[in-house]
């Protein structure tokens, strides 16, 4: 028995790589509709977005600013949640402003946006009236700080070089007082903290901020949710799958989460077996 466990402890890591490769690829061929139970952070995110619907139902114009701060390396985690959020906002007839503090953020958000606009039910969504893409500008905190007072200070033109005064939506949106919610998708260091620090007022009537981030960033983001500095949090692929299930729009995250679960089972099995093998063979090593 000891010899068996010793062999396990010295298992070739290529076998582990192979098992992980199989566990992350084979499930992609079989779509298994896994039951997804949304966690509290994701439910809060959903509640915060749904709160906007009360306003739109009253006929009030609601404007949401979506900032993309991620690059192609984290697309599998962040693009599904961005897509689901944009879809929900479009369904609610919310006006959307896209921007980014990272160069690749706005193009990646627009990729999801343009894909959605191909659906016939969004054929009446018009650029400049229902949505605007401001693109990327350099400066991080300085950009946010400037936009709080006057968006045109930091973005005199949109991504195509059109003067913001020529876009009907941007004629109405002067600064952050005219924005109802900020949605931040981030895989970068500062993340939502920069938005909390510079966009949020300390008063109660400040706009809501919700955050979608990579799994790595979730533990450092939870304190801001618990303290009420952000109103919702989607964490990694699980958060994206949660939100897809909450809005009943299963897409890529729901598809990926089955493979994710299988891979987690494999990893857990290795951790358990590795620990058992370690304790069984410990006496011999001592």
């Amino acid at each position: 028995m000891e010899k068996f466990f010793e062999k396990l402890l010295n298992i070739d890591r290529k076998i582990i790589f192979l098992l992980i490769a199989l566990s992350t690829s084979v499930p992609l061929f079989y779509f298994y509709p896994q039951k997804i139970i949304a966690n509290k952070a994701s439910r809060k995110y959903n509640d915060a977005i749904n709160k906007l619907e009360e306003k739109t139902k009253k006929g009030e114009e609601v404007v949401v600013l979506i900032s993309g701060e991620y690059d192609p390396g984290t697309v599998p985690e962040l693009s599904p949640m961005a897509r689901a959020t944009i879809k929900k906002l479009l369904d609610m007839k919310v006006k959307i402003i896209i921007m980014g503090l990272v160069p690749m953020g706005p193009p990646l958000l627009m990729e999801e946006f343009n894909e959605l606009l191909k659906e016939p039910k969004y054929s009446d969504v018009k650029y400049g009236i229902d949505y605007v893409n401001l693109g990327y500008t350099v400066g991080n905190a300085v950009v946010i700080k400037g936009m709080v007072k006057n968006i045109k200070d930091k973005y005199p033109v949109d991504v195509m070089g059109t003067d913001l005064n020529e876009l009907p939506l941007m004629r109405k949106v002067k600064n952050f007082d005219n924005i109802d919610m900020i949605v931040n998708f981030s895989s970068m260091g500062g993340g939502v903290k920069t938005w909390i620090q510079f966009a949020k007022k300390t008063t109660e009537e400040s706009m809501d901020i919700v955050f979608g981030c990579t799994g790595v960033m979730v533990p450092e983001s939870y304190p801001y949710l618990n303290s009420g500095q952000i109103q919702g949090l989607l964490g990694g692929l699980k958060g994206a799958a949660d939100y897809e299930s909450l809005i009943k729009e299963p897409k890529n995250a729901t598809k990926y989460i089955f493979a994710q679960s299988i891979a987690h089972v494999i990893i857990m099995l290795f951790i358990i077996i590795g620990n058992i093998a370690f304790f069984v063979t410990r006496k011999k090593r001592v």
Partner: protein
């Protein structure tokens, strides 16, 4: 199967990078060099046309000579490349550090000190509810114990002995749970990215998975 050449290039480069898992090899090294070269070229062009040109050159051309200040500071930063006058780059660096420190000082105090202290003060009553595990009072109490014991652990002016040491020990437990959570989320994140690549290979590139 995709008919786009870009997808094929991306597919082969993905496999080239993954080949490192078997062992270091020339194909991996070539893919790594291509990645570095393309990134450097892409960002140089992107930053010039999206930052330097619209924010600096265009403003100077319009006659806004205030922008000479960032231009001079930028040129001073490049002095780093010349060892004899490298010290000049300390001036723009001092400017950047001063601005960043000033901007972040009050903002950090508001978000990470005052905001977090406010968030940590929670009512310890309210033990009602469906069952004990769902009562807010239980979780608020646990969070309070976690905050206090972790702070005690990081208090090094007093030896960790007796009640103080035991409280610090409880703090370690909470810290370990935190590390466990971070590790779990990191594993989840890395696996998600791998799934994304697998989906690209089997669906976008080869068209085998739906």
């Amino acid at each position: 199967m995709s008919t786009e050449i870009g997808i094929w290039v991306a597919g082969f480069l993905t496999l080239a990078i993954m080949s490192f898992l078997y062992k270091d090899n020339p194909v991996y090294k070539a893919a790594e060099a291509i990645f570095l070269g393309v990134s450097a070229g892409y960002w140089t062009v992107y930053m010039f046309f999206n930052v330097v040109k619209p924010l600096l050159i265009d403003n100077l051309v319009k006659g806004n000579f205030w922008y000479l200040i960032p231009l001079v500071l930028g040129l001073m930063m490049l002095a780093r490349l010349l060892p004899n006058i490298g010290w000049i780059s300390r001036w723009p660096l001092a400017f950047v550090i001063g601005i960043t420190a000033g901007l972040n000082f009050y903002a950090f105090l508001a978000s990470d000190v005052i905001g977090q202290i406010e968030g940590a003060i929670k009512p310890l009553n309210n033990w009602g509810g469906e069952h004990l595990l769902k009562s807010q009072g239980l979780w608020n109490t646990l969070a309070s114990i976690g905050v206090i014991s972790t702070l005690v652990y990081f208090f090094f002016s007093k030896e960790h002995k007796g009640l103080f040491g035991k409280t610090a020990g409880i703090g370690i437990l909470f810290i370990m749970v935190g590390f466990g959570g971070s590790f779990g989320y990191t594993v989840m994140a890395r696996i998600s990215l791998l799934i994304g690549r697998m989906y690209f290979i089997f669906s976008t590139w080869l068209g085998l998975a739906s």
